[in-house]
Assembly symmetry: C2
Homo-oligomer: 198 residues x 2
Amino acid sequence: MTTKKNQLITTAFELFYYNGIHAVGINKILEVSGIAKKTLYNHFQSKEELIEATLTFRDVQYRNWLYERVNEAPKGIERIHALFDALDDWFNNRVCHFQLFRGCFFINTSAEFGDPSTKINQVCVAHKTEIRRFIKTQVSELNIQPHHLELITDSIQLLKEGAITIAAVQEDCHIAEKAKKSALLIIDAYSNSAINKG
Amino acid sequence: MTTKKNQLITTAFELFYYNGIHAVGINKILEVSGIAKKTLYNHFQSKEELIEATLTFRDVQYRNWLYERVNEAPKGIERIHALFDALDDWFNNRVCHFQLFRGCFFINTSAEFGDPSTKINQVCVAHKTEIRRFIKTQVSELNIQPHHLELITDSIQLLKEGAITIAAVQEDCHIAEKAKKSALLIIDAYSNSAINKG
DNA sequence: CACATAGTAGACAAATAGGTCTACTTTTGT
DNA sequence: ACAAAAGTAGACCTATTTGTCTACTATGTG
């Protein structure tokens, strides 16, 4: 992929993520990136195609970051800790190659494009589904009974998505820590050792 | 307030909630409501003022519904059940005076208006803060220790916001039930009777 | 060197945005 | 009944939107 195309995608993503997609015009992206309009329409058929490209870009960037952060911890409960610690860094702008936290780009974009049948919306769903799959993989390494796998995965995803929303809307920068506590409590309640204790 | 003004607000809300705010022009609102442009600008100074009015409208409508649903249950754990049962009805379009579920209007709007310093965004924050206050009131009626009040409130709000997001983006219509299970588990872990048991 | 590729600058078009204004009609309160 | 208030229809204005097109300019490889 050419440099210009990458520049367009990253510039578009930055502006979209900050301001919302509908609020950012093509001309603004060209002005900020310093790239000619012809070049944009040489690489993308339409604004929609550029939007889709920014979603793909962010999907890769975000998952690379999150998965690396989680996978560098040892398997098991440590990775649940790592998940929420990563969120905490994200909310508090300690991820240096991310820009200022403004919620989840996929939730935001999905909110802007109401109709669930659009391709844009489907990319957002796919991202969340993939994240859930990843969480499930981590949960499966815990000392739990297999029939609790889905339920614990759901709980953690609920807490994660809730934390992102609360961090974004209410600007509560400690929310990831609170979500982590709840997650650990739930895991503990379902864990084999807890059952053995009881 | 005049009938025309109300019509404008409800029509605008319906269109905004379905399609996103930036995606809906003034002319579309006029066309659907069948009201003249002059009348709109007689009641509102700008589109922004109309947006603010739709936010206030929804804030009142939504809280009236939710608070009534919760308050008709007896105080205590029953009201936590009622909270998540209400969410379940909302997600599954069983609230007859609401339109098709498309997530939380305040989260969606906040996502579209990135800058947290705008008045529009502040109204969204105020809504969430008020909802949290209400949840806290319900939690305070549970058989818990006072120093756990904030933490349990946070947990329930996390699960609630997470459920709204997942229901909206992934269209998982059973998510409220799962959130409820997690909430009850957390409350049970913190409850006095549980501590007495251990 | 030459030529194809990729990029630039920006005029232009068509559509749509928010918002104003005039002229006319309907409603409403006294 | 009559005057004031509220509403209608829609032309109009200006700014902005996405997208096209032309003419020109780097650039880099055979």
